[in-house]
């Protein structure tokens, strides 16, 4: 069967959920080969998971060069693999690092590159939402080996346990790929909540919260739902919530089963990051707020009354 390369999305070896989604999608196109690229000793943490989600083969690349420099080494290794394996397609997550890696690998292999795919047919026709999701296009790669970056949460992951064969890659990276050196990694926030782009439920807060400490209301609701916490730019700009949690055109794009907007007006730049959510709930005291145009369920009211009550109700129903 035709080989499909899947670039494993992971944090220090811990696979991200989108990896399972990519493997599931790859199985509809051919036989998935996972490509694991990371620092020495990191693959052990991903091995089991990749087998569980149906990788037929795993290319294992572990090297300090892959961990210590920005994107270029991974792109080089991926491009070499594209040339030697000659797969029918290459799938990566549409996350910042992976899409940069995919783009550079596509440039090196003179292949076409599509990003933000939310669906893919066996004929490799991709569905994408463009212009902030307002237009749906079908497109396909016309040149080389299709390299396609897929949005997290666009396929439901299904397990398909197996025993993949493993091939160790010899990592030799050129000097020109080792010029942007990562000298330190600083962790600023680790909430224990799900990743924003991967979460099934996202609860976001905006300027309506009035102050940073009031984000506690949003967090409590999020925790009762097992959700990730997002924020509008007004909230991140005010320093009420970390920038990494911003949803929108210049923040994260999310596509969860449920998006709850609390005290967010629904500016076009905010919508661009959340309007493909399956179900949208909005809480806003202004009945004219544009967010209500998107809402499946909109509640016109004071968030300080509504949100605590909602949290209690969710807890009660558990």
């Amino acid at each position: 069967m035709a080989e499909v390369l899947v670039l494993v999305e992971h944090a220090d070896g811990e696979p991200k959920k989108v990896t399972a989604e990519l493997l599931t999608l790859a199985r509809t196109l051919g036989e998935p080969s996972a490509v694991f690229l990371g620092g020495p000793g990191t693959y052990a943490k991903a091995k089991e998971y990749l087998a569980q989600y149906g990788a037929a083969k795993v290319y294992v690349g572990e090297s300090d060069d892959l961990a210590d420099y920005v994107v270029a080494p991974a792109a080089e290794v991926l491009a070499k693999l594209i040339a030697s394996a000659s797969p029918v397609a290459v799938l990566t997550a549409a996350t910042p690092d992976a899409r940069e890696t995919a783009a550079r690998a596509a440039a090196k292999s003179d292949s076409g590159f599509l990003w933000d795919a939310v669906g893919l047919t066996p004929e490799l026709v991709a569905t994408q939402g463009i212009f902030g999701g307002s237009t749906i296009v079908q497109s396909h790669v016309t040149k080389g080996i299709p390299v396609i970056a897929v949005r997290p949460n666009s396929t439901a992951a299904e397990a398909a346990p197996g025993t993949p064969t493993e091939e160790q890659l010899t990592i030799e990276v050129s000097d020109v790929a080792k010029t942007a050196k990562i000298v330190d990694r600083v962790v600023e926030a680790k909430s224990g909540r799900p990743d924003l782009t991967e979460a099934q439920i996202v609860v976001s807060g905006g300027r309506g919260l009035g102050a940073g400490e009031n984000f506690a209301l949003v967090e409590k609701l999020a925790d009762s739902l097992g959700a990730a916490v997002g924020a509008s730019r007004a909230a991140t700009d005010a320093g009420w919530y970390p920038h990494q949690n911003q949803v929108g055109q210049t923040g994260k794009t999310v596509s969860p089963q449920l998006y709850v907007a609390v005290g967010i007006s629904g500016a076009i730049q905010h919508r661009a990051g959340m309007q493909t959510s399956k179900t949208i709930v909005a809480i806003n005291k202004d009945p004219e707020a544009p967010i209500f145009e998107l809402a499946d369920f909109g509640l016109v009211g004071d968030l300080f009354q509504v949100v605590p009550q909602l949290t209690d109700e969710v807890e009660k129903r558990k």
Binding site: T179, I201, T250, D296, G301
Partner: protein, 261 residues
């Protein structure tokens, strides 16, 4: 410091964006066009680096004739000169072709620093910084929320935004830096700036003059093709309820019927 900053003209954020019905490229004719908002942050960062260390800022744009309005805006913010790559043959170029064309132009300017923004609001590719680094063989310092240049040492350091914090990344100059919008607060062009912009040098290049072959750019040789485009089906209009003291409970009920809790 010889700084190049890339800017792109895009359909206005508030405009209803469409694809051209004939060739399914972005319709840039029937809408108002503006400088990509994110690029204002790139221009601002370039100006700040110049103000701190001296040098010159050159704006580079690839786009139709009227993208010159966006160039003017960058010049009126304070950039010194501009190169406009414009040619009918470029119409419909994809990100990979655009990076090739821009790299060709940028290479002739021998910059110490190339600054891009992270994303353009029309394509939302978010890959141009990475691709320019690839094409130019320069260090990739993208997703920068802070940039520190040391011209004497010939180095540049950035904070690269990550999911749970940031990575500190270092490189030697020349380098490509991609900035996120968190990095600064762009200035508004002053009246004096707007007047001065009209007299600043602008070089206009066609494909041939830029040393590009018309066969490597444009729709015909793009690496991907749009087969079909349709407006997203409008969302089913939802239920809007006014809070009567039981709003939280009402939402919970709705979530339960949707099997979301």
């Amino acid at each position: 410091m010889n700084i190049v900053v890339t800017v792109k003209q895009v359909p206005d954020t508030w405009a209803e964006k469409k694809l051209d019905a004939s060739d399914r490229t972005t319709d840039r004719k029937s809408v108002d066009n503006v400088m990509n908002e994110m690029d204002e942050y790139g221009v601002e960062e370039a100006l700040r680096i110049k103000e701190a260390h001296g040098g010159e800022v050159t704006v580079v744009t690839m786009g139709p004739q009227k993208a010159v309005e966006t160039i003017r805006k960058a010049l009126s913010m304070g950039a010194d000169k501009a190169v406009h790559l414009t040619d009918d043959a470029l119409h419909g170029s994809d990100a990979l072709q655009t990076s090739k064309a821009l790299a060709k132009v940028i290479a002739t300017l021998s910059p110490d620093l190339v600054i891009t923004a992270t994303e353009a609001s029309d394509a939302r590719g978010g890959v141009m910084g990475a691709l320019l680094a690839e094409r130019l063989g320069l260090p990739q310092l993208t997703l920068a929320r802070k940039v520190t240049v040391d011209p004497a040492a010939g180095t540049v350091q950035i904070e690269r935004q990550a999911d749970n914090g940031y990575a500190l990344v270092e490189a030697s100059l020349p380098a490509v830096v991609g900035v996120v919008e968190k990095i600064n607060e762009p200035r508004y062009p002053s009246f004096k700036g707007i007047m001065a912009a009209k007299k600043k040098p602008l070089t206009t290049l066609g494909v041939g003059e830029a040393g590009l072959d018309a066969s490597e750019v444009g729709l015909a040789s793009a690496g991907s093709k749009v087969d079909d485009a349709e407006p997203r089906p409008p969302r089913q209009s939802g239920t809007i309820v006014k809070d009567e003291g039981d709003g939280g409970a009402k939402i919970a009920e709705f979530l339960a019927t949707q099997k979301l809790i």
